[in-house]
């Protein structure tokens, strides 16, 4: 029984932390948030050179073949740095292809996705759809697909779209297909670009119907997202604690007032709770698959609430300055809140937990 990362994982964490904090200082995050594309080729190539784009791809297919724990480690650091990058979207699509891609799909796409030459994303939410991430009503007719998907992350940067459809089906669509129209949407979180994707009779290439493997991929995705929220919340908490120690009112640091200090203690409780669950879920995905569905939903439900609460509470500690565009906190709040709703919100995942626990 040991909660510590092994040496390799620790090395990944250190590299990720140092690299990301150096590459994504606040000014860079801010500039990318205001930029339509939201990342540069140079930044992308650096992530690819670190091997991260191939993290979840088996070695035989051109990747590193690492596990969910390593992904959790990197995602936490990406969240801490608030890095704007299509990395997570591409890894999410890659996870689905690794889980259920046909032989031809794997051969065509896994190599380029692993090397970073290509990028992917998942088109999940129907335009007039339900709140549940698994309730798409999209159906293919023959081997073509006509549908509109909303809030598709990083679609403009993607070469390949994995489109969720009814009955747990998924289709691979190439972004270059003339029937694909991608329009930017205004997103709550400017560090992750969202798009509306209209598909008009595009060639739809079905992934294999492998419900268990696809479920495992989605569990990995939500665990990775929960880990990202942990990083976001950790950073916001550090900002609040540091501000509470510096800022003086009524002749003493505001952190000496319990209304402020107890808020900060509460942040720690929630950040550490979210972290424990995300690490556990990552471990379960790699080593105890039977526990993974429940662990992943627990991690995502808890992190979704904690991410918003901690960043909002950090804003309260900052007073008026925290509400300004000029201050960085709002980027943290927005990323946490947007992540809370991606791939199933707290309510949906709690319902899963209830079901999986025999309630």
């Amino acid at each position: 029984m040991n909660f510590d990362f092994n040496d390799d994982q620790r090395a990944i964490k250190r590299t990720a932390h140092d690299f990301l904090t150096a590459r994504y200082p606040a000014a860079t995050v801010r500039a990318l948030a205001g930029d339509d594309r939201g990342f540069t080729d140079e930044q992308w190539n650096e992530l690819a050179e670190l091997g991260w784009t191939g993290l979840v791809v088996p070695e035989a297919e051109g990747g590193l073949g690492l596990g969910a724990v390593e992904l959790v480690v990197i995602q936490e650091e990406l969240g801490y740095a608030l890095a704007p990058t299509p990395f997570f979207s591409s890894v999410a699509a890659t996870l689905l292809l690794v889980a259920a891609g046909t032989e031809a799909q794997r051969e065509r796409w896994l190599g380029p996705l692993a090397s970073g030459e290509a990028r992917g994303t998942i088109a999940l939410w129907d335009e007039h759809g339900a709140w549940s991430p698994d309730q798409s009503e999209v159906e293919a007719s023959g081997d073509t697909l006509t549908a509109t998907k909303i809030a598709v992350a990083d679609a403009a940067a993607a070469d390949v779209l994995i489109v969720a459809a009814a009955d747990g089906r998924h289709y691979l669509v190439e972004a270059a297909d003339p029937g694909v129209r991608i329009e930017p949407e205004r997103s709550l979180d400017p560090t992750r670009k969202l798009f509306k994707v209209a598909l008009d009779g595009v060639a739809a290439d079905s992934l294999a119907l492998e419900p268990a493997r696809i479920a495992h991929a989605y569990q990995t995705i939500v665990t990775a997202l929960a880990a990202e929220i942990v990083g976001v919340a950790q950073h916001a908490m550090e900002m609040a604690v540091s501000y509470a120690g510096d800022r003086k009112q009524f002749d003493r640091p505001i952190g000496a007032y319990q209304a402020v200090s107890h808020r900060c203690s509460q942040m720690l409780l929630e950040v550490e709770g979210a972290r424990s669950l995300a690490y556990w879920a990552g471990w379960a995905l790699d080593h105890e698959p039977d526990a993974a569905a429940r662990a992943a939903s627990m991690a995502k439900a808890y992190a979704s609430d904690a991410g918003f609460r901690v960043t909002a509470s950090a804003m309260q500690v900052h007073g008026g300055i925290g509400f300004t565009w000029e201050h960085d906190l709002h980027f943290f709040l927005k990323r946490a809140e947007a992540n809370a709703h991606a791939f199933g919100d707290a309510r949906w995942h709690r319902d899963r937990v209830a079901e999986l626990s025999g309630v």
């Binding site: 029984m1 040991n2 909660f3 640091p253 952190g255 900060c264 409780l269 556990w280 319902d351 309630v359």
Partner: protein
């Protein structure tokens, strides 16, 4: 990262599990005296089989168990719904304090009878005017030759009515700054000068007491950790109170939660099982998640202790978080009971009431938040 038990830890667990299964003495009788006698017998049985004080060194009658084994022990005992040992305060707090700060002679004198439940311990810290602000205690001890003469009042003293020894924090130097003038005594409760009066709790039972101390005598050799060093010794006791119990507590929360789920399934509310009400489902799920956090944080805390020798930040959050989980759980039970919540008809009524103490006993939630803010986050002190 490896969240499984090693073969030797599994063997430890299986051996204990089998022993508990074979030796479980059944349901505890009702009534303070009967329940106490039952718990004392149970502890004797534990001790005879080597299952009392598992983490203590073998030379003092313990098992020399590792931290993980100790955690497993606490989990398994709760999971088996084994009775409480009679001497909980001696086992969880008194013994570890003597091991940490006592002389070799004191260890030889006190540890064995704690394990066998021959001598029950209680904790005389709180006073009417000194609760959270423990360092302000007024109970005075004055030296007369080889003896100390003690006068004062203690309150909320759990199990004082069964106890032979009291861990007593008293002021031995009123000129010194308040944290420096304290000493930690072991006071013999068997003397006329110590009067114990039961205090009835909101549950109707009387676990705790008032102590009226009027010129009680304590031999000088009964000071633990040296004269004037009482604060440091008392902190050791409190750390053990908050940390050692964490594992048992998190499992008892899990078990209570499973019982609550059963209750939700079997209670009909508005024509359907309460467990199908979406709001109840959400709250049950949230509690399942929080209980999981308690378990994981407890283990992460152990990993930190094994790595750094001191508890990590996660550890100090446990007692506070547990009290919240324990309280919300019983509040939800009342909600599930619906109108029957007005009746005191099952043990949930007791649990609901007893849980109110969870955020007060062993350090209030406010004090624990202060500790987290100042010691873990490094925020400025209040004063």
């Amino acid at each position: 990262m490896d969240l499984t038990l090693s073969p030797s830890e599994l063997a430890f667990r299986d051996e204990l599990r089998a022993w508990l299964l074979a030796n479980h003495p059944g349901r505890e009788p009702v009534g303070d005296e009967a329940a106490f006698a039952f718990r004392r017998d149970w502890q004797r049985q534990l001790h005879a089989a080597g299952w009392a004080g598992v983490s203590w060194p073998t030379k003092y009658g313990g098992r020399g168990a590792t931290l993980i084994e100790q955690a497993i022990y606490n989990e398994e005992v709760v999971r088996a719904k084994a009775p409480q040992a009679a001497n909980v305060l001696g086992l969880a707090m008194g013994g570890p304090t003597v091991i940490a700060h006592g002389t070799e002679e004191q260890r030889r004198r006190y540890l064995q009878p704690i394990l066998s439940a021959e001598e029950i311990w209680c904790q005389g810290f709180s006073e009417p005017d000194s609760g959270s602000d423990l360092a302000s205690v007024k109970t005075r001890a004055t030296r007369h030759g080889d003896e100390w003469v003690v006068t004062g009042q203690k309150v909320w003293t759990t199990f004082a009515h069964h106890a032979k020894w009291c861990m007593l924090v008293a002021r031995t130097d009123s000129d010194a700054p308040k944290h420096k003038g304290l000493s930690y005594f072991l006071m013999d409760m068997d003397q006329e000068a110590v009067q114990v009066r039961p205090l009835v709790q909101i549950t109707g039972e009387a676990e705790f007491n008032e102590l009226f101390i009027e010129e009680a005598r304590i031999p000088h050799e009964n000071i633990i950790g040296g004269e004037g060093n009482g604060w440091a010794v008392a902190i050791t006791t409190l750390m053990h109170e908050r940390a050692t119990l964490a594992f048992g507590l998190q499992v008892s929360a899990q078990i209570a939660l499973n019982e609550l789920i059963e209750k939700a399934r079997s209670t009909r509310a508005n024509g359907q099982p309460a467990s199908e009400d979406p709001v109840i489902r959400q709250r049950l799920a949230q509690l399942l998640i929080e209980a999981e956090v308690l378990r994981l944080n407890a283990y992460r805390g152990l990993t930190a202790i094994m790595r750094d020798g001191v508890p990590g930040p996660e550890g100090s959050l446990g007692k506070w978080h547990w009290s919240e989980v324990s309280q919300s759980l019983t509040e939800l039970a009342m909600e599930i009971a619906g109108p029957r919540a007005m009746l005191a008809e099952d043990e949930w009524t007791y649990r609901f009431l007893r849980a109110r103490a969870n955020s007060i006993e062993g350090g209030t939630t406010e004090i624990l938040k202060n500790i987290v803010a100042e010691r873990v986050l490094g925020l400025p002190r209040m004063r």
